[in-house]
């Protein structure tokens, strides 16, 4: 049964239509249903989202219901805490071939979430042993690898078309060179595949420069075809995940540029942000506006520039070096991932998790592209002459990098996004 998610994306690809998807999770069952209904009724090709709350994310299944009982709103839907029947009712008449629903959760130990999502009749979710551990959790990486292996086998064993999207193309959401994002998606895809999951998607977070992102997305597709050839896969783009522009014009332009990037790069699906993102957790109507904005952009589909080709070649070469270095460590992908972080062959810039070296750093170069500062122990060639280099990054420099995109869009300097 089901498999709605992959079929819906495949149909949309044939129709040359970008599937759009909001971030959405409400604590209250009726509010959650109303939110999903509003997305389903919007008239664009959309996938529904049930994002779980942050208490459930860390394995606390009681506080969320206590806070709901006190009349407070949660930042997500407590899928494990609400009764199974209540969630089935919540989805009834909405979830179907024309409106797939994905569970988004952010947990490093996802067994309970996976069990419950299958119990309520769903089969699509996301995350990964690295991408939901190092950035978001205190759990040792080796434990997350074991938990995810178990969860993948559970999903593969209890559903016919269980789907997992690797969050490896997002990691900390920003300030990560694209080659590491691409490599991590491929590696988590190999991990899912090893544990029986055959329906995958690979994420990629919009960076700081459109031409670099287009090159990187081409590299991701090339490597996915090569390393995940016997699976069903598609690519999902995330609208910029860092600090969002504060002006409505700037925020709208950034959302439109991300939709254009998704179309130009042949992405099948896109997760949108909203105009109010800089201020608060978005309302349903703000989500609807963002979905419409993203669904409306026609894209440009211009021929790749020489600069795009250069970014493609660079990302492809670096990502391949990273993937091969890791896969060659062990026949078991999970063991290889743990060993790679131990040796510093994988190293996520700025990540505070104890299992991450944090010797590698990321900078924004003169072109506005994401680049390596320090390369730490990554198996990459030494930086060429004239590369930005790391040095000691102060709080002001970091602050500027965190605000780079928001500032550019807030001051109307986004017109050159088509470079």
């Amino acid at each position: 049964m089901s498999g709605y998610f992959d079929r819906f994306v495949a149909d949309s690809r044939r129709l040359r239509t970008l599937v759009v998807q909001p971030r959405m999770g409400m604590g209250n069952i009726h509010t959650m249903r109303a939110g999903l209904r509003a997305v389903a009724d919007l008239g664009v090709r959309a996938v529904g989202t049930v994002t779980i709350d942050s208490y459930t994310r860390v394995g606390d299944y009681t506080t969320s219901l206590e806070r709901l009982a006190l009349g407070e709103e949660l930042n997500g839907y407590p899928l494990v805490s609400h009764p199974t029947g209540a969630t089935r009712d919540m989805l009834h008449g909405l979830y179907g071939p024309g409106f797939p629903v994905q569970v988004r959760h952010g947990t490093a130990r996802p067994q309970r979430v996976f069990e419950r999502l299958v119990e309520v009749g769903l089969d699509a979710t996301e995350g990964g042993p690295v991408s939901y551990c190092l950035p978001y959790s205190r759990l040792p990486l080796a434990d997350a690898v074991t938990a995810w292996a178990e969860s993948c086998r559970f999903l593969a064993g209890t559903t016919e078309h269980g789907h997992i999207e690797s969050f490896g193309g997002c990691l900390l959401g920003q300030l990560c060179p694209p080659s590491l994002l691409v490599a991590m998606g491929i590696l988590e895809g190999r991990f899912f595949r090893q544990h029986g999951v055959r329906h995958l998607s690979l994420s990629y977070a919009q960076g700081t420069l459109a031409v670099q992102d287009r090159g990187a997305l081409r590299a991701l597709r090339a490597l996915a075809a090569e390393y995940l050839g016997d699976t069903t896969w598609h690519v999902v783009l995330y609208t910029y995940m860092g600090l969002f522009p504060r002006t409505p014009d700037g925020a709208g332009a950034l959302i439109r540029d991300s939709a254009r990037l998704a179309r130009d790069a042949g992405c099948e699906r896109m997760i949108v942000k909203t105009v109010s993102e800089a201020w608060q957790i978005p309302s349903v109507s703000e989500n609807l506006s963002a979905l419409t904005l993203a669904a409306d952009d026609p894209g440009t589909r211009s021929a790749p520039s020489a600069l795009e080709d250069a970014f493609f070649e660079e990302t492809l070469a670096e990502a391949r070096l990273l993937v091969d270095a890791v896969l060659n460590l062990d026949a078991d992908v999970g063991t290889a991932l743990v060993a790679a972080f131990g040796k510093g062959l994988l190293d996520i810039p700025f990540c505070l998790h104890p299992d991450n070296r944090a010797a590698a750093t990321c900078v924004i170069d003169d072109r506005g592209a994401l680049a390596w500062g320090e390369r730490g122990g990554l198996p990459l060639p030494k930086a060429g002459a004239g590369a930005p280099g790391g040095g000691r990054l102060g709080s002001d420099a970091l602050y500027d990098m965190l605000n780079h995109v928001a500032n550019r869009y807030d001051t109307n300097e986004f017109e050159w996004g088509s470079v």
Binding site: S54, G106, G173, L352, L398
Partner: protein, 162 residues
Amino acid sequence: MSTSFRCLVSTVESDSHIWNLVYLQKLLEENGATVRNLGSCTPVDLVVRAVRESRPELLVVSSVNGHGHHGARVLLSALQENGLEVPCVVGGKLTTTESDNDRVRRDLLAHGYTDVFLGEDAIPRFRDFLTSGRSEGFARWQADAAVVPPWDATVSAAAGVH
């Protein structure tokens, strides 16, 4: 005046964001702090243990996921129950809407936080706090009184009566 001070950086257990913590560590180090950064999703017990072990001169709690108000209360209560007294400040995005800021700040100051940094000018005010705290001691900082919006006046007047 001490030129360096020990500072513990944490968030609340439900908050997985890290950029606020990475940024604050750099900012604190530049202002003379030796920082122990506990990272994201810090369980209350871990913070209590870390305060007991490393005896920081300042605890900085930062949260941006919209649930920090509750978590910050729970954290400070736990420190108080364990008899641990340390100047502590909290800031970020503590509820799901900005309009709660005045109410939240008032509540957390009353709960015992040395100061609460929310909204547009949070970082400049935090810098002022650091400058003053380094020379005068963090415990001597007097936070500005929390703003009471007119529509909350009856509530606070009633609270004042009790």
